[in-house]
């Protein structure tokens, strides 16, 4: 298992459009993906899980990936979040 803490930096946070991108990315890998915010852990392949996290701008989240392709999956997901989901802000 690999895990990494990052901060959601884009202005709208993990809103619907970003959540769609996150889930689609996570689904490309066979590893299980979890997101932890505060005490809550949700399935990173569940859009409803992500939306109910209500992660707004500046929220620190922990991404946990475990499985065969965990390294690649983690890299891709971190890149997506750090790249502000391609939203430029």
């Amino acid at each position: 298992m690999v895990e990494k803490e990052i901060v959601v930096k884009n202005k709208l946070g993990l809103h619907a459009r970003a959540a769609v991108k996150f889930v689609n990315m996570a689904n490309r890998f066979s590893s299980a993906v979890k997101i932890v915010k505060d005490e809550t852990e949700i399935d990173g392949k569940s859009i409803l899980g992500i939306l109910t996290l209500a992660a707004t701008q500046g929220t620190p989240i922990m991404i946990r990936v475990s499985g065969k392709d965990e390294e690649e999956a983690m890299n891709a997901l971190v890149k997506l979040v750090n790249g502000n989901f391609g939203e430029n802000e």
């Binding site: 202005k11 709208l12 946070g13 809103h15 619907a16 459009r17 959540a19 769609v20 889930v23 689609n24 399935d43 392949k45 569940s46 859009i47 409803l48 899980g49 939306l51 109910t52 209500a54 707004t56 939203e87 430029n88 802000e89």
Partner: protein, 589 residues
């Protein structure tokens, strides 16, 4: 059933009559039906079948929305597809069917309630609102449980109905209106420039907004008449009224077909003088509608809506995706993109603009852009990037003095250099033009025109400023007269100054859309008329039925008269004498 008439704002003309369909499609059940143990497997299969049908439906809708409205509107359907396929959601539904031996209807309703509560407990308003996406998907599955007989009230998908809503999100509006089964729209809130209103106009769907509480006044079985021309909504009309509106509707539809025919005719006068009708629009989606009315280009593309799409400021990509789409769909005809006209009373939540004591005379349009240079640069960069096909033009609104043009040009050059350094290609010869709306600018039009490639006259603001009349103020609006001799002198001066320098000049304001005013402008030498596309056929009809000579003579004589009324009477009389068909418009819209 009570009969009620409501007044609102008609934002898209035409009449729609039919049964009500609420925008909330949620029709969950409160009745728990237990099934025999042996039927559980069958019930689960029924549920999965419904989910499959829902998926097909959403994919279909997504394809539809992206072709009709563009990719960016279709993303909401991607979200809905992911919700549909969300394991947590679906397994929760299945679990209830299995463990409680309940019908799928009850299971869907329970899970919906659970998620409504969950989302309601969130702190952030945006995320709270996502509960509607969940219930949207669940109610779609619900509706698909029965194949032949869709549940009552949830059958809006197949029947043509009147859409009643408190308010529609842009994505919802795009989705609902593109489905092709909305006869008309009636909403509690909204104004003529709300996204829904614009979309309704572009799709020729009658719409009345600003009805305050129509959602509370109608029930799902009610019959509605929506008169988008006069801004009226009638709930459960008696037969006599229904008949009256049926007649009105037929008349309008006939008139509309007539107009469309005119749209295809050539834009020339009886003596073969060419003129050019252009369209004022606010959304890229309106381009096709503008063409269908006979527009020969987009004379004014208002860019403000880009700022209204999101809660945050638009990025360069946001701007670019809109401009490149519009440039492509208009090509090879030109599109004039007006840089943003905000500030003053057109405020934006993202910007926290300070309230000014006199917004019409305050920090707006180019004044605002020159104060907020980062926003302006972003917009200019995006426009330049979209200009490669050489059909993009820029319009700078509300110029007051020469110095402003200098500043704009300086900034424009900087942005061009920046792009060149980044090796981004654009139209290096892209022309630059200004809008004349300030009387001071009008009076020095001969000086200003030497600095730019073309001029566009925004007559609505120009007349208000020139006559010092707020035409929305009922106490003074009687003074708002486009044919005031002073207004005509001013406009004539601008047109002649531009033509003398060999520059293009366009009028984009209501004057261009009014047959009588348009004739006068034509007499002054104007050939480019930019207006709300629905008025293009009537202007074409008028100009096609006159000769330039007659118009020039009538206008010249009229300029010697003292009052707007004298001028109006004189022109009508003189034109009709030679061209009796000039003002045959049929029913006014």
């Amino acid at each position: 059933m009570s009969f009620i008439r409501l007044r609102g704002i008609g934002v898209s003309p035409g009449i729609g009559m039919g049964e009500v369909c609420f925008s909330e499609r949620v029709v969950f059940t409160a009745r728990k039906e237990i099934i025999p143990r042996a039927r559980v497997r069958w019930e689960l299969k029924r549920l999965r079948k419904a989910a499959e049908r829902t998926k097909e439906e959403l994919l279909e809708l997504k394809k539809d929305v992206s072709t009709k409205m563009g990719e960016e509107h279709a993303f909401i359907l991607d979200a809905h597809l992911l919700i549909l396929e969300d394991r947590a959601l679906f397994s929760a539904v299945e679990k209830i069917v299995e463990e409680e031996r309940a019908r799928a209807e009850w299971a869907l309703s329970q899970v919906n309630r659970k998620y409504q509560n969950l989302f309601d407990s969130l702190d952030d308003d945006y995320f709270r609102q996502r509960k509607f996406d969940v219930s949207d998907v669940l109610s779609r599955i619900y509706g698909n449980l029965e194949v032949k007989k869709p549940p009552k009230g949830n059958a809006c998908d197949s029947r043509k109905t009147i859409l009643v809503a408190h308010e529609l999100l842009p994505s919802e509006a795009a989705m609902r209106l593109s489905e092709g089964n909305v006869l008309a729209v009636a909403m509690d809130v909204g104004g003529p420039t709300s996204h829904t209103a614009i979309l309704a106009r572009s799709l020729n769907i009658p719409a009345v907004v600003g009805l305050h509480n129509i959602t509370q006044q109608v029930k799902s079985d009610d019959y509605l008449i929506v008169d988008g021309t006069d801004g009226e909504v009638i709930i459960n009309p008696p037969l006599a009224i229904k008949k009256e509106f049926q007649g009105k509707k037929e008349k309008y539809d006939k008139y509309f077909r007539e107009l469309k025919k005119t749209a295809k005719l050539k834009s020339v006068t009886l003596d073969e003088v060419r003129f050019c009708p252009l369209a004022n629009i606010e959304l890229p989606e309106e381009v096709n509608m503008a063409f269908s009315f006979g527009a020969e280009g987009i004379g004014l593309f208002r860019s403000e809506f880009i700022f209204l799409q999101k809660e945050t400021l638009p990025t360069e990509e946001d701007h670019f995706s809109v401009y490149s789409r519009i440039a492509k769909s208009v090509y090879p005809l030109p599109v004039y993109i007006r840089t943003v006209d905000i500030g003053g009373e057109k405020s934006l939540p993202q910007l926290k603009i300070e309230k000014e004591p006199n917004p019409a005379l305050g920090l707006r349009a180019i004044r605002f852009s020159l104060k907020n240079r980062d926003l302006f640069r972003t917009q200019l960069r995006a426009i330049l990037r979209a200009s490669l096909a050489k059909n993009v033009r820029i319009l700078i609104p509300m110029i007051t003095e020469v110095e402003e043009i200098g500043e704009v040009k300086l900034l424009f050059e900087e942005v061009k250099e920046e792009l060149e350094k980044e090796r981004i290609r654009f139209d290096r010869q892209i022309p630059l033009g200004i809008m004349i709306e300030v009387p001071a600018a009008a009076a020095i039009a001969d000086i200003l025109v030497k600095e730019v490639d073309y001029i566009s006259i925004g007559t609505n603001d120009l007349i208000q400023y020139h006559l010092a009349v707020d035409r929305s103020n009922e106490f003074v609006s009687y003074l708002y007269k486009p044919l005031h001799p002073s207004v005509l002198r001013l406009v004539k001066f601008i047109i002649e100054a531009s033509l003398r320098e060999g520059r293009d000049v366009t009028v984009c304001g209501e004057m261009a859309a009014d047959p009588l005013s348009a004739l006068i402008l034509f007499g002054f030498g104007l050939r480019k008329f930019s207006m709300n596309p629905i008025f293009i056929p009537r202007i074409k009809k008028t100009l096609r039925s006159v000769e330039l000579r007659t118009v020039e003579k009538a206008v010249e004589e009229a300029l010697g008269l003292k009052t707007a009324q004298d001028i109006e009477e004189h022109i009508i009389e003189r034109i009709l004498l030679k061209h009796p068909k000039a003002f045959l418009m049929g029913q006014a819209i």
